[in-house]
Symmetry: C2
Subunit: 264 residues, 2 copies
DNA sequence: CGAACTTTTGATATCACTCAAGGGACGTGG
DNA sequence: CCACGTCCCTTGAGTGATATCAAAAGTTCG
Protein backbone atom coordinates (compact mmCIF):
# COMPACT_ATOMS: atom_id res chain seq x y z
CA UNK A 1 0.00 0.00 0.00
CA UNK A 2 2.92 2.33 0.60
CA UNK A 3 6.29 1.89 -0.96
CA UNK A 4 9.30 2.78 1.13
CA UNK A 5 11.98 4.88 -0.41
CA UNK A 6 14.82 6.88 1.01
CA UNK A 7 15.57 10.17 -0.62
CA UNK A 8 18.16 11.88 1.53
CA UNK A 9 18.46 15.04 -0.49
CA UNK A 10 15.35 15.30 -2.67
CA UNK A 11 13.56 18.55 -1.93
CA UNK A 12 9.97 19.69 -2.45
CA UNK A 13 8.83 22.44 -4.78
CA UNK A 14 10.13 25.59 -3.09
CA UNK A 15 13.77 24.81 -2.33
CA UNK A 16 13.07 24.57 1.41
CA UNK A 17 11.68 21.93 3.70
CA UNK A 18 7.89 22.42 3.87
CA UNK A 19 7.90 21.83 7.60
CA UNK A 20 10.38 24.64 8.03
CA UNK A 21 8.32 26.91 5.80
CA UNK A 22 5.25 26.09 7.80
CA UNK A 23 6.74 26.69 11.23
CA UNK A 24 8.50 29.76 9.98
CA UNK A 25 5.11 31.37 9.44
CA UNK A 26 4.54 31.24 13.17
CA UNK A 27 7.94 31.77 14.68
CA UNK A 28 11.38 32.71 13.44
CA UNK A 29 13.66 29.72 13.36
CA UNK A 30 17.41 29.89 13.87
CA UNK A 31 19.85 28.00 11.65
CA UNK A 32 20.19 25.30 14.28
CA UNK A 33 16.42 24.85 14.39
CA UNK A 34 16.29 24.48 10.65
CA UNK A 35 19.08 21.95 10.59
CA UNK A 36 17.32 19.95 13.24
CA UNK A 37 14.05 20.04 11.34
CA UNK A 38 15.73 18.99 8.14
CA UNK A 39 17.32 16.13 9.97
CA UNK A 40 13.98 15.13 11.48
CA UNK A 41 12.49 14.87 8.02
CA UNK A 42 15.14 12.61 6.61
CA UNK A 43 13.01 9.44 6.61
CA UNK A 44 10.51 9.65 3.81
CA UNK A 45 7.75 7.49 2.54
CA UNK A 46 5.60 7.87 -0.51
CA UNK A 47 1.94 7.04 -0.30
CA UNK A 48 -0.36 6.31 -3.16
CA UNK A 49 -3.58 8.20 -3.72
CA UNK A 50 -6.57 7.04 -1.67
CA UNK A 51 -4.46 5.10 0.81
CA UNK A 52 -4.98 5.41 4.53
CA UNK A 53 -2.01 6.84 6.33
CA UNK A 54 -3.23 6.38 9.86
CA UNK A 55 -6.18 4.62 11.45
CA UNK A 56 -8.35 5.92 14.21
CA UNK A 57 -7.34 4.34 17.51
CA UNK A 58 -4.09 3.08 16.09
CA UNK A 59 -1.15 3.26 18.42
CA UNK A 60 1.70 5.03 16.74
CA UNK A 61 5.29 5.61 17.65
CA UNK A 62 5.85 8.04 14.80
CA UNK A 63 4.25 11.16 13.42
CA UNK A 64 3.96 12.04 9.76
CA UNK A 65 4.58 15.36 8.09
CA UNK A 66 3.13 15.94 4.66
CA UNK A 67 5.85 16.99 2.24
CA UNK A 68 3.97 16.67 -1.02
CA UNK A 69 0.36 16.06 -1.89
CA UNK A 70 -2.77 16.54 0.19
CA UNK A 71 -4.00 14.43 3.07
CA UNK A 72 -7.13 14.72 5.17
CA UNK A 73 -8.31 13.84 8.65
CA UNK A 74 -11.64 12.06 8.96
CA UNK A 75 -13.86 10.05 11.23
CA UNK A 76 -16.41 7.41 10.34
CA UNK A 77 -19.74 6.72 11.96
CA UNK A 78 -21.00 3.18 12.51
CA UNK A 79 -23.33 3.44 9.51
CA UNK A 80 -20.56 4.53 7.20
CA UNK A 81 -21.11 8.25 7.19
CA UNK A 82 -17.81 10.09 7.09
CA UNK A 83 -16.91 13.53 8.33
CA UNK A 84 -13.76 15.07 7.00
CA UNK A 85 -12.14 17.09 9.75
CA UNK A 86 -9.38 18.93 7.99
CA UNK A 87 -6.96 18.92 5.11
CA UNK A 88 -3.23 18.58 5.47
CA UNK A 89 -0.96 20.29 3.00
CA UNK A 90 2.77 20.52 2.66
CA UNK A 91 4.27 21.13 6.09
CA UNK A 92 1.28 19.97 8.11
CA UNK A 93 1.80 17.36 10.77
CA UNK A 94 -0.50 14.40 10.80
CA UNK A 95 -0.80 13.75 14.44
CA UNK A 96 -0.79 17.01 16.27
CA UNK A 97 -1.94 15.43 19.48
CA UNK A 98 0.92 12.98 19.65
CA UNK A 99 1.76 14.43 23.04
CA UNK A 100 -1.56 13.88 24.72
CA UNK A 101 -1.68 10.19 24.01
CA UNK A 102 -0.24 7.74 21.58
CA UNK A 103 -3.71 7.07 20.24
CA UNK A 104 -5.44 9.16 17.71
CA UNK A 105 -9.10 10.09 17.64
CA UNK A 106 -9.35 10.16 13.88
CA UNK A 107 -7.96 8.60 10.72
CA UNK A 108 -5.86 10.22 8.04
CA UNK A 109 -6.04 9.46 4.34
CA UNK A 110 -4.41 10.96 1.30
CA UNK A 111 -6.21 12.46 -1.66
CA UNK A 112 -3.38 12.41 -4.13
CA UNK A 113 -0.12 10.59 -4.32
CA UNK A 114 1.86 12.01 -1.45
CA UNK A 115 5.23 12.01 0.19
CA UNK A 116 5.47 12.23 3.96
CA UNK A 117 8.29 12.46 6.42
CA UNK A 118 8.22 9.85 9.15
CA UNK A 119 9.44 11.10 12.51
CA UNK A 120 9.78 8.84 15.53
CA UNK A 121 8.06 10.49 18.45
CA UNK A 122 11.00 10.13 20.86
CA UNK A 123 13.24 11.78 18.33
CA UNK A 124 10.75 14.60 17.89
CA UNK A 125 10.49 15.07 21.63
CA UNK A 126 14.21 15.28 22.09
CA UNK A 127 14.45 17.73 19.20
CA UNK A 128 11.87 19.90 20.94
CA UNK A 129 13.85 19.69 24.14
CA UNK A 130 16.99 20.84 22.36
CA UNK A 131 15.29 23.48 20.21
CA UNK A 132 12.39 24.99 22.14
CA UNK A 133 11.35 27.10 19.20
CA UNK A 134 10.42 23.99 17.31
CA UNK A 135 8.05 23.10 20.09
CA UNK A 136 6.67 26.61 20.12
CA UNK A 137 6.13 26.48 16.39
CA UNK A 138 4.29 23.19 16.62
CA UNK A 139 2.06 24.53 19.36
CA UNK A 140 1.24 27.58 17.30
CA UNK A 141 0.51 25.43 14.29
CA UNK A 142 -1.80 23.30 16.37
CA UNK A 143 -3.62 26.36 17.64
CA UNK A 144 -4.05 27.69 14.17
CA UNK A 145 -5.62 24.37 13.29
CA UNK A 146 -7.96 24.77 16.21
CA UNK A 147 -9.02 28.11 14.77
CA UNK A 148 -9.74 26.40 11.46
CA UNK A 149 -11.90 23.84 13.24
CA UNK A 150 -13.91 26.65 14.81
CA UNK A 151 -14.48 28.24 11.43
CA UNK A 152 -15.56 24.90 9.99
CA UNK A 153 -17.98 24.34 12.83
CA UNK A 154 -19.49 27.75 12.25
CA UNK A 155 -19.73 26.97 8.58
CA UNK A 156 -21.34 23.57 8.89
CA UNK A 157 -23.55 24.54 11.79
CA UNK A 158 -24.96 27.82 10.57
CA UNK A 159 -24.64 28.34 6.85
CA UNK A 160 -26.83 26.99 4.11
CA UNK A 161 -25.37 24.68 1.51
CA UNK A 162 -24.49 27.32 -1.06
CA UNK A 163 -22.79 29.71 1.33
CA UNK A 164 -21.20 26.80 3.07
CA UNK A 165 -19.51 25.53 -0.06
CA UNK A 166 -18.52 29.01 -1.14
CA UNK A 167 -16.89 29.78 2.19
CA UNK A 168 -15.14 26.48 2.33
CA UNK A 169 -13.64 26.90 -1.11
CA UNK A 170 -12.36 30.36 -0.24
CA UNK A 171 -10.85 29.12 2.98
CA UNK A 172 -9.11 26.27 1.22
CA UNK A 173 -7.82 28.61 -1.41
CA UNK A 174 -6.25 30.69 1.32
CA UNK A 175 -4.77 27.66 3.04
CA UNK A 176 -3.37 26.25 -0.20
CA UNK A 177 -1.87 29.51 -1.18
CA UNK A 178 -0.01 29.97 2.07
CA UNK A 179 1.03 26.31 2.22
CA UNK A 180 2.58 26.44 -1.19
CA UNK A 181 4.22 29.58 -2.51
CA UNK A 182 1.33 30.22 -4.85
CA UNK A 183 -0.49 33.33 -5.98
CA UNK A 184 -3.80 34.03 -4.25
CA UNK A 185 -7.15 34.61 -5.95
CA UNK A 186 -8.14 31.78 -8.20
CA UNK A 187 -6.90 28.44 -7.02
CA UNK A 188 -7.72 24.82 -7.52
CA UNK A 189 -8.01 21.85 -5.24
CA UNK A 190 -7.97 18.12 -6.00
CA UNK A 191 -11.38 17.39 -4.52
CA UNK A 192 -14.01 14.88 -5.47
CA UNK A 193 -17.60 15.96 -4.97
CA UNK A 194 -17.89 13.07 -2.60
CA UNK A 195 -15.14 14.49 -0.43
CA UNK A 196 -16.64 17.92 -0.62
CA UNK A 197 -19.92 16.45 0.58
CA UNK A 198 -18.31 14.70 3.54
CA UNK A 199 -16.47 17.88 4.40
CA UNK A 200 -19.58 20.02 4.41
CA UNK A 201 -22.04 17.63 5.97
CA UNK A 202 -24.06 17.45 2.75
CA UNK A 203 -24.99 14.85 0.18
CA UNK A 204 -23.05 14.27 -3.02
CA UNK A 205 -26.19 14.93 -5.02
CA UNK A 206 -26.86 18.20 -3.29
CA UNK A 207 -23.25 19.30 -3.54
CA UNK A 208 -23.42 18.59 -7.22
CA UNK A 209 -26.44 20.82 -7.72
CA UNK A 210 -24.87 23.60 -5.70
CA UNK A 211 -21.64 23.41 -7.65
CA UNK A 212 -23.58 23.63 -10.87
CA UNK A 213 -25.21 26.80 -9.67
CA UNK A 214 -21.91 28.31 -8.67
CA UNK A 215 -20.47 27.37 -12.02
CA UNK A 216 -23.43 28.76 -13.93
CA UNK A 217 -22.92 32.05 -12.21
CA UNK A 218 -19.27 32.03 -13.20
CA UNK A 219 -17.89 31.82 -9.68
CA UNK A 220 -16.10 28.51 -9.93
CA UNK A 221 -15.11 25.89 -12.43
CA UNK A 222 -14.74 22.21 -11.82
CA UNK A 223 -14.09 18.94 -13.46
CA UNK A 224 -12.94 15.50 -12.62
CA UNK A 225 -11.56 15.58 -9.09
CA UNK A 226 -10.83 19.25 -9.15
CA UNK A 227 -12.56 22.45 -8.13
CA UNK A 228 -11.25 25.83 -9.21
CA UNK A 229 -12.15 29.23 -7.92
CA UNK A 230 -12.82 31.72 -10.66
CA UNK A 231 -14.14 34.76 -8.85
CA UNK A 232 -13.17 34.69 -5.21
CA UNK A 233 -14.68 38.03 -4.30
CA UNK A 234 -18.13 37.29 -5.61
CA UNK A 235 -17.91 33.81 -4.16
CA UNK A 236 -17.60 35.28 -0.68
CA UNK A 237 -20.67 37.41 -1.22
CA UNK A 238 -22.89 34.44 -2.02
CA UNK A 239 -26.18 34.64 -0.23
CA UNK A 240 -28.01 31.63 1.06
CA UNK A 241 -31.09 29.99 -0.45
CA UNK A 242 -32.83 33.36 -0.47
CA UNK A 243 -30.79 34.04 -3.60
CA UNK A 244 -33.22 31.74 -5.37
CA UNK A 245 -35.70 34.59 -5.20
CA UNK A 246 -33.62 36.44 -7.78
CA UNK A 247 -34.16 33.66 -10.29
CA UNK A 248 -37.47 31.90 -9.95
CA UNK A 249 -39.85 34.84 -9.76
CA UNK A 250 -38.34 36.19 -12.98
CA UNK A 251 -39.85 33.27 -14.84
CA UNK A 252 -43.25 33.88 -13.37
CA UNK A 253 -43.05 37.54 -14.27
CA UNK A 254 -42.21 36.65 -17.86
CA UNK A 255 -45.41 34.63 -18.04
CA UNK A 256 -47.39 37.51 -16.65
CA UNK A 257 -45.87 39.84 -19.20
CA UNK A 258 -46.80 37.42 -21.93
CA UNK A 259 -50.37 37.42 -20.84
CA UNK A 260 -50.34 41.17 -20.61
CA UNK A 261 -48.93 41.39 -24.13
CA UNK A 262 -51.67 39.16 -25.47
CA UNK A 263 -54.43 41.07 -23.80
CA UNK A 264 -53.06 44.45 -24.87
CA UNK B 1 -21.78 44.89 33.86
CA UNK B 2 -19.14 43.13 35.92
CA UNK B 3 -18.32 44.09 39.48
CA UNK B 4 -14.69 43.94 40.54
CA UNK B 5 -13.87 42.22 43.76
CA UNK B 6 -10.69 40.97 45.26
CA UNK B 7 -10.87 37.73 47.15
CA UNK B 8 -7.32 36.78 47.98
CA UNK B 9 -8.09 33.53 49.76
CA UNK B 10 -11.61 32.48 48.78
CA UNK B 11 -11.56 29.02 47.25
CA UNK B 12 -13.92 27.24 44.88
CA UNK B 13 -15.93 24.11 45.62
CA UNK B 14 -13.33 21.37 45.84
CA UNK B 15 -10.71 22.83 48.18
CA UNK B 16 -8.28 23.26 45.30
CA UNK B 17 -7.80 25.75 42.55
CA UNK B 18 -9.85 24.58 39.52
CA UNK B 19 -7.03 25.50 37.17
CA UNK B 20 -4.70 23.22 39.09
CA UNK B 21 -7.25 20.44 39.05
CA UNK B 22 -7.66 20.85 35.35
CA UNK B 23 -3.98 20.85 34.44
CA UNK B 24 -3.35 18.06 36.86
CA UNK B 25 -5.49 15.82 34.70
CA UNK B 26 -2.93 16.16 31.94
CA UNK B 27 0.37 16.42 33.71
CA UNK B 28 1.61 16.01 37.24
CA UNK B 29 2.35 19.35 38.82
CA UNK B 30 5.00 19.93 41.43
CA UNK B 31 4.38 22.02 44.58
CA UNK B 32 6.15 24.94 42.97
CA UNK B 33 3.92 24.73 39.91
CA UNK B 34 0.85 24.71 42.09
CA UNK B 35 2.00 27.70 44.10
CA UNK B 36 2.65 29.57 40.90
CA UNK B 37 -0.77 28.71 39.52
CA UNK B 38 -2.46 29.77 42.72
CA UNK B 39 -0.61 33.03 42.58
CA UNK B 40 -1.59 33.53 38.96
CA UNK B 41 -5.24 33.19 39.90
CA UNK B 42 -5.18 35.77 42.65
CA UNK B 43 -7.05 38.47 40.70
CA UNK B 44 -10.69 37.58 40.48
CA UNK B 45 -13.70 39.06 38.91
CA UNK B 46 -17.31 38.02 39.12
CA UNK B 47 -19.47 38.17 36.04
CA UNK B 48 -23.21 38.20 35.94
CA UNK B 49 -25.21 35.71 33.94
CA UNK B 50 -25.58 36.48 30.24
CA UNK B 51 -22.77 39.00 30.21
CA UNK B 52 -20.10 38.95 27.53
CA UNK B 53 -16.66 38.25 28.86
CA UNK B 54 -14.71 38.79 25.71
CA UNK B 55 -15.55 40.14 22.28
CA UNK B 56 -14.42 38.71 18.99
CA UNK B 57 -11.54 40.73 17.59
CA UNK B 58 -10.96 42.44 20.90
CA UNK B 59 -7.36 43.02 21.80
CA UNK B 60 -6.66 41.63 25.22
CA UNK B 61 -3.71 41.83 27.53
CA UNK B 62 -5.15 39.29 29.93
CA UNK B 63 -6.61 35.83 29.81
CA UNK B 64 -9.49 34.55 31.90
CA UNK B 65 -9.81 31.27 33.71
CA UNK B 66 -13.26 30.13 34.72
CA UNK B 67 -13.32 29.36 38.44
CA UNK B 68 -17.05 29.05 38.94
CA UNK B 69 -20.00 28.89 36.59
CA UNK B 70 -20.14 28.04 32.91
CA UNK B 71 -19.01 30.16 29.97
CA UNK B 72 -19.17 29.48 26.27
CA UNK B 73 -17.30 30.44 23.13
CA UNK B 74 -19.37 31.62 20.18
CA UNK B 75 -19.28 33.38 16.86
CA UNK B 76 -21.96 35.44 15.16
CA UNK B 77 -22.79 35.66 11.49
CA UNK B 78 -23.75 38.93 9.87
CA UNK B 79 -27.44 38.01 9.90
CA UNK B 80 -27.41 37.23 13.61
CA UNK B 81 -27.05 33.46 13.49
CA UNK B 82 -24.86 32.24 16.30
CA UNK B 83 -22.72 29.17 16.55
CA UNK B 84 -21.61 28.08 19.98
CA UNK B 85 -18.11 26.66 19.74
CA UNK B 86 -17.51 25.23 23.15
CA UNK B 87 -18.34 25.40 26.81
CA UNK B 88 -15.91 26.45 29.49
CA UNK B 89 -16.17 24.96 32.93
CA UNK B 90 -14.17 25.39 36.09
CA UNK B 91 -10.49 25.37 35.21
CA UNK B 92 -10.91 26.16 31.52
CA UNK B 93 -8.99 29.04 30.05
CA UNK B 94 -10.88 31.54 27.97
CA UNK B 95 -8.34 32.46 25.44
CA UNK B 96 -6.32 29.42 24.61
CA UNK B 97 -4.77 31.05 21.58
CA UNK B 98 -3.39 33.97 23.51
CA UNK B 99 0.03 33.04 22.19
CA UNK B 100 -0.73 33.09 18.54
CA UNK B 101 -2.02 36.62 18.51
CA UNK B 102 -3.49 39.07 20.94
CA UNK B 103 -6.72 38.96 18.98
CA UNK B 104 -9.35 36.37 19.39
CA UNK B 105 -11.42 34.79 16.64
CA UNK B 106 -14.51 34.34 18.77
CA UNK B 107 -16.44 35.83 21.66
CA UNK B 108 -16.99 34.39 25.10
CA UNK B 109 -20.15 34.78 27.15
CA UNK B 110 -21.27 33.32 30.45
CA UNK B 111 -24.39 31.24 30.99
CA UNK B 112 -24.63 31.58 34.72
CA UNK B 113 -23.19 33.95 37.24
CA UNK B 114 -19.51 33.19 37.15
CA UNK B 115 -16.21 33.94 38.78
CA UNK B 116 -13.10 34.13 36.68
CA UNK B 117 -9.44 34.64 37.39
CA UNK B 118 -7.83 37.43 35.42
CA UNK B 119 -4.23 36.73 34.43
CA UNK B 120 -2.09 39.29 32.63
CA UNK B 121 -0.51 37.63 29.64
CA UNK B 122 3.04 38.74 30.41
CA UNK B 123 2.68 37.28 33.86
CA UNK B 124 1.39 34.03 32.44
CA UNK B 125 4.24 33.86 29.98
CA UNK B 126 6.85 34.38 32.62
CA UNK B 127 5.19 31.76 34.78
CA UNK B 128 5.42 29.32 31.89
CA UNK B 129 9.06 30.19 31.43
CA UNK B 130 9.73 29.46 35.09
CA UNK B 131 7.54 26.38 35.33
CA UNK B 132 7.60 24.55 32.00
CA UNK B 133 5.06 22.01 33.18
CA UNK B 134 2.47 24.74 33.35
CA UNK B 135 3.07 25.43 29.70
CA UNK B 136 2.91 21.75 28.92
CA UNK B 137 -0.35 21.43 30.80
CA UNK B 138 -1.87 24.33 28.91
CA UNK B 139 -0.81 22.86 25.60
CA UNK B 140 -2.34 19.52 26.49
CA UNK B 141 -5.53 21.23 27.59
CA UNK B 142 -5.68 23.06 24.30
CA UNK B 143 -5.20 19.86 22.37
CA UNK B 144 -7.93 18.16 24.29
CA UNK B 145 -10.16 21.06 23.29
CA UNK B 146 -9.20 20.48 19.71
CA UNK B 147 -10.34 16.90 20.06
CA UNK B 148 -13.67 18.14 21.38
CA UNK B 149 -14.02 20.40 18.36
CA UNK B 150 -13.48 17.45 16.08
CA UNK B 151 -16.17 15.49 17.86
CA UNK B 152 -18.55 18.42 17.58
CA UNK B 153 -17.88 18.79 13.89
CA UNK B 154 -18.60 15.12 13.37
CA UNK B 155 -21.77 15.51 15.37
CA UNK B 156 -23.09 18.58 13.60
CA UNK B 157 -21.96 17.49 10.17
CA UNK B 158 -23.18 13.91 10.13
CA UNK B 159 -25.80 13.13 12.72
CA UNK B 160 -29.50 13.82 12.58
CA UNK B 161 -31.07 16.10 15.11
CA UNK B 162 -32.07 13.47 17.62
CA UNK B 163 -28.76 11.63 17.69
CA UNK B 164 -26.98 14.93 17.60
CA UNK B 165 -28.65 16.18 20.73
CA UNK B 166 -28.28 12.86 22.48
CA UNK B 167 -24.57 12.69 21.79
CA UNK B 168 -24.01 16.26 22.78
CA UNK B 169 -25.72 15.80 26.10
CA UNK B 170 -23.67 12.74 26.88
CA UNK B 171 -20.48 14.49 25.98
CA UNK B 172 -21.34 17.45 28.17
CA UNK B 173 -22.20 15.15 31.01
CA UNK B 174 -18.74 13.64 30.74
CA UNK B 175 -17.07 17.03 30.58
CA UNK B 176 -19.02 18.37 33.53
CA UNK B 177 -18.30 15.36 35.60
CA UNK B 178 -14.57 15.56 35.10
CA UNK B 179 -14.50 19.32 35.51
CA UNK B 180 -16.24 19.17 38.83
CA UNK B 181 -15.71 16.30 41.18
CA UNK B 182 -19.14 14.93 40.41
CA UNK B 183 -20.55 11.46 39.96
CA UNK B 184 -21.08 10.35 36.37
CA UNK B 185 -24.27 9.01 34.85
CA UNK B 186 -27.14 11.40 35.22
CA UNK B 187 -26.11 15.00 35.21
CA UNK B 188 -27.63 18.36 34.51
CA UNK B 189 -26.54 21.41 32.65
CA UNK B 190 -27.78 25.00 32.80
CA UNK B 191 -28.77 25.21 29.16
CA UNK B 192 -31.53 27.10 27.45
CA UNK B 193 -33.09 25.46 24.43
CA UNK B 194 -31.94 28.46 22.49
CA UNK B 195 -28.34 27.76 23.44
CA UNK B 196 -28.76 24.10 22.66
CA UNK B 197 -30.03 25.06 19.23
CA UNK B 198 -27.08 27.34 18.53
CA UNK B 199 -24.75 24.63 19.69
CA UNK B 200 -26.20 21.98 17.46
CA UNK B 201 -26.87 24.01 14.35
CA UNK B 202 -30.62 23.54 14.76
CA UNK B 203 -33.66 25.69 15.37
CA UNK B 204 -35.13 26.32 18.79
CA UNK B 205 -38.42 24.91 17.64
CA UNK B 206 -36.87 21.76 16.33
CA UNK B 207 -34.72 21.30 19.40
CA UNK B 208 -37.84 21.62 21.48
CA UNK B 209 -39.61 18.85 19.62
CA UNK B 210 -36.58 16.60 19.84
CA UNK B 211 -36.23 17.18 23.56
CA UNK B 212 -39.86 16.32 24.04
CA UNK B 213 -39.32 13.04 22.29
CA UNK B 214 -36.28 12.25 24.39
CA UNK B 215 -38.22 13.13 27.50
CA UNK B 216 -41.23 11.08 26.49
CA UNK B 217 -38.97 8.08 26.12
CA UNK B 218 -37.60 8.67 29.59
CA UNK B 219 -34.06 9.45 28.49
CA UNK B 220 -33.80 12.99 29.74
CA UNK B 221 -35.66 15.52 31.82
CA UNK B 222 -35.63 19.23 31.42
CA UNK B 223 -37.15 22.40 32.65
CA UNK B 224 -36.45 26.06 32.79
CA UNK B 225 -32.85 26.56 31.67
CA UNK B 226 -31.77 23.09 32.55
CA UNK B 227 -31.39 19.74 30.87
CA UNK B 228 -30.85 16.57 32.86
CA UNK B 229 -29.75 13.18 31.67
CA UNK B 230 -31.87 10.38 33.07
CA UNK B 231 -30.64 7.34 31.17
CA UNK B 232 -27.24 7.90 29.69
CA UNK B 233 -26.82 4.44 28.24
CA UNK B 234 -30.04 4.42 26.30
CA UNK B 235 -29.40 8.00 25.26
CA UNK B 236 -26.24 6.93 23.50
CA UNK B 237 -28.10 4.23 21.62
CA UNK B 238 -30.57 6.67 20.12
CA UNK B 239 -31.09 6.05 16.45
CA UNK B 240 -31.73 8.81 13.99
CA UNK B 241 -35.06 9.61 12.34
CA UNK B 242 -35.27 5.98 11.23
CA UNK B 243 -36.49 5.31 14.76
CA UNK B 244 -39.80 6.61 13.53
CA UNK B 245 -40.06 3.44 11.48
CA UNK B 246 -40.61 1.53 14.71
CA UNK B 247 -43.78 3.53 15.28
CA UNK B 248 -45.56 4.55 12.11
CA UNK B 249 -45.55 1.33 10.09
CA UNK B 250 -47.14 -0.42 13.06
CA UNK B 251 -50.26 1.67 12.46
CA UNK B 252 -50.37 0.78 8.80
CA UNK B 253 -49.98 -2.88 9.57
CA UNK B 254 -52.83 -2.67 12.03
CA UNK B 255 -55.06 -1.42 9.23
CA UNK B 256 -53.99 -4.23 6.98
CA UNK B 257 -54.70 -6.74 9.68
CA UNK B 258 -58.10 -5.23 10.15
CA UNK B 259 -58.89 -5.70 6.51
CA UNK B 260 -57.62 -9.23 6.66
CA UNK B 261 -59.76 -9.89 9.72
CA UNK B 262 -62.87 -8.67 7.93
CA UNK B 263 -62.28 -10.74 4.86
CA UNK B 264 -61.52 -13.91 6.82
C1' DC C 1 -14.05 -3.03 -24.22
C1' DG C 2 -15.38 -3.66 -19.51
C1' DA C 3 -14.97 -2.25 -14.58
C1' DA C 4 -14.88 1.24 -11.37
C1' DC C 5 -15.43 5.78 -10.34
C1' DT C 6 -17.18 10.47 -10.92
C1' DT C 7 -20.63 13.52 -12.35
C1' DT C 8 -25.65 14.26 -13.73
C1' DT C 9 -30.45 14.12 -13.72
C1' DG C 10 -35.28 13.34 -12.21
C1' DA C 11 -38.73 12.11 -9.02
C1' DT C 12 -40.04 11.71 -4.47
C1' DA C 13 -39.74 11.74 0.59
C1' DT C 14 -38.80 13.99 4.80
C1' DC C 15 -36.21 16.47 8.04
C1' DA C 16 -35.82 20.75 9.65
C1' DC C 17 -37.02 25.71 9.18
C1' DT C 18 -40.26 29.57 9.21
C1' DC C 19 -43.98 32.04 10.81
C1' DA C 20 -47.27 32.95 14.19
C1' DA C 21 -49.24 32.74 18.39
C1' DG C 22 -50.35 31.13 23.08
C1' DG C 23 -49.10 29.61 27.77
C1' DG C 24 -46.25 29.25 31.83
C1' DA C 25 -42.58 30.80 35.04
C1' DC C 26 -40.16 34.34 37.06
C1' DG C 27 -38.96 39.00 38.47
C1' DT C 28 -40.21 43.64 39.28
C1' DG C 29 -42.59 47.53 40.58
C1' DG C 30 -46.63 49.57 42.08
C1' DC D 1 -50.42 40.90 46.53
C1' DC D 2 -51.47 41.83 41.93
C1' DA D 3 -50.27 43.55 37.28
C1' DC D 4 -47.11 43.55 34.04
C1' DG D 5 -43.10 42.50 31.06
C1' DT D 6 -39.80 39.31 29.75
C1' DC D 7 -37.93 35.17 28.93
C1' DC D 8 -38.52 30.37 28.10
C1' DC D 9 -41.12 26.69 26.48
C1' DT D 10 -44.86 24.84 23.48
C1' DT D 11 -47.90 24.06 19.50
C1' DG D 12 -49.68 24.08 14.72
C1' DA D 13 -49.67 24.81 9.94
C1' DG D 14 -47.15 25.44 5.91
C1' DT D 15 -42.88 25.71 3.31
C1' DG D 16 -38.44 24.86 1.92
C1' DA D 17 -34.00 22.81 1.88
C1' DT D 18 -31.77 18.71 1.71
C1' DA D 19 -31.80 13.67 1.62
C1' DT D 20 -32.99 9.46 -0.66
C1' DC D 21 -33.56 6.42 -4.44
C1' DA D 22 -32.59 5.06 -8.99
C1' DA D 23 -30.46 5.25 -13.07
C1' DA D 24 -27.78 7.14 -16.93
C1' DA D 25 -23.87 9.42 -19.02
C1' DG D 26 -19.09 10.57 -19.17
C1' DT D 27 -13.97 9.35 -17.55
C1' DT D 28 -10.16 6.87 -16.54
C1' DC D 29 -7.66 2.83 -16.50
C1' DG D 30 -6.27 -1.63 -17.20
Amino acid sequence: MAAELERPAAQASCSTNPLIRKLDKFISLGPQDQLTLDHLCRHRRSIEANATLMHENARLSVVFVVLMGVAYRYRLLADGRRQILGYLMAGDMCDADFIISDRCDHSVGVLTDAVVAVIPIPELKSAIARCPRIGDGLVLASQSEEAVLRRWLLNVGQRHALQRIAHFLCEMSAQLHTAQCLPAGSLSMPLTQHELADTMGLTVVHVNRCLQRLRDEGLIAYGRKRVTIVDRDRLLQIEGPAARATVEPAVQRADELNVAGVSA
